[in-house]
Symmetry: C2
Subunit: 205 residues, 2 copies
């Protein structure tokens, strides 16, 4: 779904839209916190892009709901809850964008802000998979990242799409942007691997 431009009506199941909005809004909070913690403008820009994407999803969902209610008050009543939840995820994504904007606007992240987002045990990291990298073309399950490096891939950005909490069968492709969560050391190792700076785990796969 393109993040910009005219939004045409496409029938997408309400459930799918709502699940995507919920998952993206949660990812955005994580990304926004991380962008503030590490003063990372790239992550912050991602949050702002996602915010526009969620706006579009909210628009599509509203259209779906209107079509689904077919002018019937009973149907409309049943769908009010859906609409409320969609609006709530939109509000959450706005809040994440507000935090990200501190970073993109160079307002400067006060040490207090950094401190509250710090979780010693976990850290978000972003890596772009390079052509020829050891992990390119591999299924996530095969990498056994949790056991090997203490990290998980929590999202993949592939072109304009986000795959949230990808499952084990998902294949990593060159050009994928991966968001991982986990131990700082493992995060660093994985980034080097994804970006082709090391391949020392190759023989293990």
């Amino acid at each position: 779904m393109p993040p910009f431009g005219k939004i045409g009506y496409k029938p997408i199941p309400v459930r799918d839209l709502l699940v995507e909005m919920k998952n993206l809004s949660e990812l955005m909070i994580d990304l926004a916190y991380s962008s503030a913690l590490f003063n990372d403008k790239e992550l912050a820009e991602d949050v702002l892009t996602l915010e526009k994407h969620i706006d579009n999803l909210a628009y599509l969902l509203d259209m779906e709901i209107m079509v689904a209610s077919r002018g019937d008050p009973k149907d409309a009543e049943a769908l009010i809850g859906v609409s409320t939840v969609a609006a709530a995820t939109d509000k959450i994504s706005d809040a994440a964008a507000d935090i990200a904007a501190i970073v993109t606007r160079d307002i400067g992240v006060h040490p207090i802000v950094g401190a509250i987002f710090e979780k010693v045990e976990e850290r978000l990291m972003k890596a772009t998979v390079k052509e020829g990298s050891t992990i390119s073309g591999k299924r996530i399950g095969k990498l056994d990242l949790a056991a090997r490096m203490g990290i998980d891939i929590i999202a993949i950005r592939r072109n304009k799409d986000w795959i949230i909490n990808p499952n084990e069968a998902e294949r990593i492709l060159a050009g994928d942007i991966l968001i991982t969560r986990g131990a700082p050391q493992g995060s660093k190792e994985f980034k080097d691997l994804a970006e082709g700076r090391t391949s020392h785990l190759e023989e293990q796969y």
Copy 2:
């Protein structure tokens, strides 16, 4: 801190206020989703109470920030980021309250809404610790809940206070309201234990 009534100025460190707001807003999202999933009015009411509490914290934080900036533009600039993050956590808590209101107002939770909040592997549960219960007076670490039942205590409400992510040394007291997250079977067992309906694990402690 009382959730109602006049809010007097009390010097609480900005960092502590911000950490509490962030943690509470995250807890509220979890509680709101669970209240919608299980159509649980009690959890939904908790979310609404927490929302008022966060409003109070936001008010106190604004006062702190004004005092801290001492009319100095440089100090004020450094504190803008703090104020933005506080406003964002407030927005997140509002979103959680919107979701909870679906439940308290009997709007009816559409099956779609329930479905998107369902996570097979984890479930939030609420239990009140009864006098004489096996776990009353025990430290959390001693209970070894993750290994025994596949659950964690994510929050304790003790009188008007919330303890978020209590540490292992925290002692559970009669009257505590515990919020747990974990496997459905373990959650049920733990609730029975906390509420004194079973004590079959007693000999193990």
